[in-house]
């Protein structure tokens, strides 16, 4: 298995990776959305999940045209934020966890190409204790994000969605209001409510 053999077979269309610890309450948002997506994902969409991102994810990212990371967030706008991931040297990442930016950077360094990646951050609230299941507010945000992602995976207009997310975040300051990102069907940028 080499870098060349990992990518020479041609790129697959879309990879979705939900990551987080389901035993840590709202930290499990990413894997939970990945679980719900499994079985209903459109053709050409690969769904995966893990406790955290790690260096081997770089190989999978390099093997797909587009990767969508799903992560819980303690601070993103409610209910969720969709943005593009730009490669970045993340020197501070710790032993067993790598940021989406570092994964994309490592993918480019190790396997070449310019992998495109986005992250769907979903706002969570309870992270401190051991426990299964999401808080009610996180569950509502997850439902909104699930609808958005389902639409996005049909249209595959990732750039427009990310541009809308960035624009909404910039225009609404540090605490944008709920539903300021995209229409739930992912059809294009909007500022209406996301249900």
């Amino acid at each position: 298995m080499t870098a060349a053999s990992a990518t020479s077979a041609g790129l697959k269309p879309v990879l979705v990776i939900g990551f987080g610890n389901p035993g840590r309450q709202d930290d499990g948002i990413g894997p939970e959305l990945a679980r719900r997506l499994e079985g209903s994902a459109p053709e050409g969409v690969t769904v995966d999940s893990d406790y955290q991102l790690m260096i081997e994810d770089a190989a999978d990212v390099a093997g797909h045209e587009v990767t969508v990371f799903i992560d819980a967030s303690t601070s993103c706008p409610e209910p969720f934020l969709f943005r593009e991931v730009h490669p970045r040297e993340d020197a501070s990442f710790s032993t067993h966890s790598v940021s989406p930016e570092a994964v994309v950077h490592l993918a480019a360094k190790c396997f070449g190409g310019r992998p495109r990646a986005f992250v769907l951050e979903i706002r969570g609230y309870d992270f401190d204790g051991f426990g299964e299941g999401l808080s009610a507010r996180a569950e509502a945000n997850l439902s909104a994000a699930a609808g958005f992602l389902a639409g996005l995976l049909r249209t595959k207009d990732f750039d427009a969605a990310a541009a809308a997310g960035t624009k909404a975040k910039a225009s609404e300051g540090p605490e944008p209001q709920a539903g300021s990102v995209l229409q739930p069907d992912g059809s294009g940028p909007a500022t209406g409510a996301v249900e």
Binding site: G23, R24, D50, Y51, M54, E56, D90, S94, C110, F127
Partner: protein, 485 residues
Amino acid sequence: MVTNASTTAGTRKITIEPVTRVEGHGKVTLHLDEKNNVSQARLHIVEFRGFERFIQGRPYWEVPVIVQRLCGICPVSHHLAAAKAMDRIVGGENLTPTAEKMRRLMHYGQMFQSHALHFFHLVSPDLLFGFDADPAVRNVIGVAAKFPDLAVQGVMMRKFGQEIIKATAGKKIHGTGAIPGGVNKNLSVQERDFFLKDMEQMLAWARSALSIAKDYTAEHLAELKDFGSFESNHLSLVRKDGAMDLYHGVLRAVDAKGERVLNDVDYQEYAKHIAEEVRDWSYMKFPFMKSVGPEKGWYRVGPLARLNTADFIDTPEAEAARKEFKAVTGGKPNNITMAYHWARMIECLHSAEKINDLLHDKDLQGTDLVTKGERREEAVGLIEAPRGTLFHHYRVNKQDQVTMANLIVSTTNNNEPMNRAVQKVAQDCISGKPEVTEGLLNRIEVAIRAYDPCLSCATHAMGRMPLDVEIHDCEGKVVDRRQRD
């Protein structure tokens, strides 16, 4: 960030927190005497015992799945240690050949990927760029930029191991492969062939990584010999015939000279031999062997300890490497902290050889997966996790609910040794000036990383852990502080 406090007379204390490329939360405090020499070093790790209580009341068959949520770093080790305990709860500890070999394949896959990750991701930057290189470069991204082939090897070895885990445990999150008394799946021929096609490459890369670790240690032996090093006891499981066995065996401990301290005892009775000391300055306990006492009964676990306790390794290439390793110390235990990396890569090659052997074993396609026997209400499961011996101890009532759980994780077992390593490094670096220099910060990181601590596991808490060092004087005042995110 650097914060300097006023210098005061008397003993000083230096604190370092948190440590980069080590998961969890911890800090280091260095206590200085009146002459600014290090009198004591303390690695502070916030350990919460919340997880043991979280398990109480749950049905025993859920435990091998639940414990994987301790953290995402070594879920397989917790999965298997809990499953081994629950085997005894259902009287199914004598596994079928297919069940035991599937579990071993899962375990060697975990060991292979974890050791590869640690070496390429964490250690190779220190070895390739030097301890004093800029931390902004001294990381895996720096390795990828300057040594792209090595970075790719690390990524693909980790991926290979993860795929084995997925094939044996069922999935990466909440794997269910090991169940009380056995496993719930075998390995299909298709899955076997998927791994076999890459096996020779994995063996070659494992040999190459071992060569890097061995050559580095040999070339720098003079400077590494004393780096964070000290004499200690060493503890691990070994097979009944004395072979290294990472999955099952009896407990053996040797002292710094190689004399037996624990002579191949049944780990079901670990509580007769091991106790945990509480110290007022640390949330993490300090395990020790009762027969020796807390002062001198602490021990090291992990790759270095396993190389020191085993009489031999039952795979040819790793055994040849073990003999070279032992030759450095004339057959006596190796107490060089930085030799952990060499030992770790011997185990990485051993794991690859074991995976290769298992993939050629038709028992993996067997269909007799589960066994049961006389029900018990208390059991202990032990396994050699990548970072060292992992203890799981449970009591289960007649209603099948867990009533007690006690876990001693590898990092807790290495608590005292990590403190000793930091103290030794600090003593060698600080002389006369109560200052946290960049060089001191780097060396403390390198010494702690040799143990590959899983602090999020030890703390039972998720989170990133940068490095923070404080110097305190004899009156407890902070006289210098440096933090690295």
